[in-house]
């Protein structure tokens, strides 16, 4: 299967690929969806502008699941084109929006790394939106030192993204302090034997601390409810009128909407939209959506970054994508930076406090010594 699209000119060894939800002017930007078939981006995403201003070559566009949606609990995990492009050496790095953890997990499993930056530090202007309170452009990279160099080029306030911190630039560097690693024992126990062993080996290189995640059993449900609600709003813009796919056969305006959306979206995306519309309905709002927002605050407030610098998690706790969603919900739900990388077993994911990416870089570098 062709995981990356090479319709751009041949690129050099330092070139960066873009997941197809990141727009490059006059290039296809389908975000993996039939509803955006034949859509050409009218402008460059802010991250593309910054890459080009810094002399970075764009390698091409990588395939993705439709808009990055991944919520059907029992389906196989779709392969990440961004991870494959970097793992195969077709690009030095790839930028993507990894809401559901597909890229973060597959990076660790395929010998490459992923950086999910702090929410509000990388502009999403020109990113085709999925779930706005969680959308964040991150990078698949060969190693984290490379990845953070790339991130330093694209991170910083952009007036075109209204949900950003004010800093114009960020510096990611090795910290001159001992990193404290928090291990949530209950989560570690869910991983397979090899991954548990790897996590213990990793933690032994640092000052270890207990890190409780008291709402871990609710992560994936809160994530699903909130993400689907936001997805249903964001995808309402696809109506067959302003851009994207329009069904060839329709009578009334309502039929145009129905047929264009029914034919243009895949089943899993429809599932996400319908779940979102349901949780936002008058009957379900308080019981589902409002409660999920409140638990989201409990999740964020339960973290104790004064007692540890990073939380270490396995990169997988089983084969099911829904089980693993619990691992990858923490960073987007709390707006935190995280990295994932190979380290024995299934690999490791680290999560740090807001704008403390340097602790992640430091922990990764120390773990390699």
């Amino acid at each position: 299967m062709d995981y990356y699209i090479t319709d751009y000119k041949a690129s050099g060894p330092g070139a960066v690929a873009l997941e197809s939800g990141i727009m490059r002017k006059n290039r296809p930007a389908a975000a993996g969806s039939g509803i955006l078939a034949n859509f050409a981006a009218p402008f460059d995403a802010a991250v593309v502008t910054r890459l080009l201003e810094n002399g970075v070559e764009i390698a091409g566009s990588t395939r993705m699941s439709e808009f990055g949606v991944c919520i059907a609990p029992d389906e196989p995990v779709p392969a990440s084109g961004a991870v494959r492009a970097v793992a195969d050496g077709a690009a030095a790095a790839a930028l993507c929006n990894d809401v559901f953890g597909l890229n973060r997990r597959q990076a660790a499993e395929n010998g490459v790394c992923y950086i999910h930056p702090t929410y509000g530090t990388v502009s999403r202007f020109g990113l085709i939106p999925l779930a706005c309170s969680m959308d964040q452009i991150g990078a698949v990279c060969r190693d984290l030192a490379d990845g953070f160099r790339l991130l330093s080029l694209i991170a910083g306030n952009d007036p075109n993204d209204g949900a950003m911190f004010p800093e114009k630039k960020y510096e990611y560097k090795r910290l001159d302090k001992k990193i404290r690693v928090g291990l949530p024992a209950g989560v570690v126990a869910m991983a397979d034997g090899a991954s548990r062993e790897s996590l213990r080996d990793f933690a032994a290189k640092f000052a270890a601390a207990d890190a409780e995640l008291p709402y871990f059993g609710a992560h994936r449900q809160v994530m699903t409810i909130l993400a689907c609600a936001e997805i249903s709003g964001n995808l309402s813009r696809y109506d067959g009128v302003k851009f994207g796919y329009r069904s060839p056969e329709y009578g009334s305006l309502n039929e145009l909407y129905l047929k264009s959306r029914t034919e243009g979206f895949g089943a899993e995306t429809k599932l996400a939209v319908i779940m979102g519309v349901m949780t936002l309905s008058r009957e379900e709002y308080v019981r589902r959506y409002d409660k999920a927002m409140r638990i989201r605050r409990l999740i964020r407030d339960s973290l104790r970054f004064g007692e540890y610098d990073v939380i270490a998690l396995p990169a997988a706790i089983g084969g099911s994508r829904y089980d693993n969603l619990a691992l990858y919900s923490l960073a987007p739900l709390a707006g935190l930076p995280s990295v994932s990388f190979p380290y024995g077993g299934s690999g490791i994911q680290l999560v740090a406090d807001v704008k403390n990416e340097s602790a992640l870089l430091t922990a990764w570098e120390v773990s390699r010594t």
């Binding site: 004010p166 609710a218 449900q221 809160v222 939209v273 349901m278 605050r297």
Partner: protein, 91 residues
């Protein structure tokens, strides 16, 4: 199995029956999993709408142009005389 037809209609979908069954079955699995939230008392927590602890700051309005009207219309499936074209909406 939940009857999601009202939400399907509100979502502006009209799915074939096989797809509807597939979607409904997965919706059932997800809804069943939501029971894990029932035991959590979150009534004392304020809803977390955004994770950014920053306040909105207004600036002076500035006129900028990212894309032109023509460029936006170019992306439309059908256009006529400088407007998006849709079927008749009035009898």
């Amino acid at each position: 199995m939940q009857d999601l037809r009202v939400y399907e209609a509100l979502s502006k979908f009209d799915m074939p029956e096989t797809e509807r069954r597939w979607v409904n079955a997965r919706a059932d699995m997800l809804i069943e999993s939501f029971a894990a939230l029932d035991g959590i008392d979150a009534s004392g927590a304020e809803p977390l709408v955004t994770v950014l602890d920053i306040q909105n700051v207004l600036r002076e309005d500035e006129v900028v142009r990212v894309v032109t009207r023509e460029e936006l219309l170019e992306a439309a499936p059908e256009q006529y005389d400088g407007y998006f074209q849709v079927p008749w909406t009035l009898e």
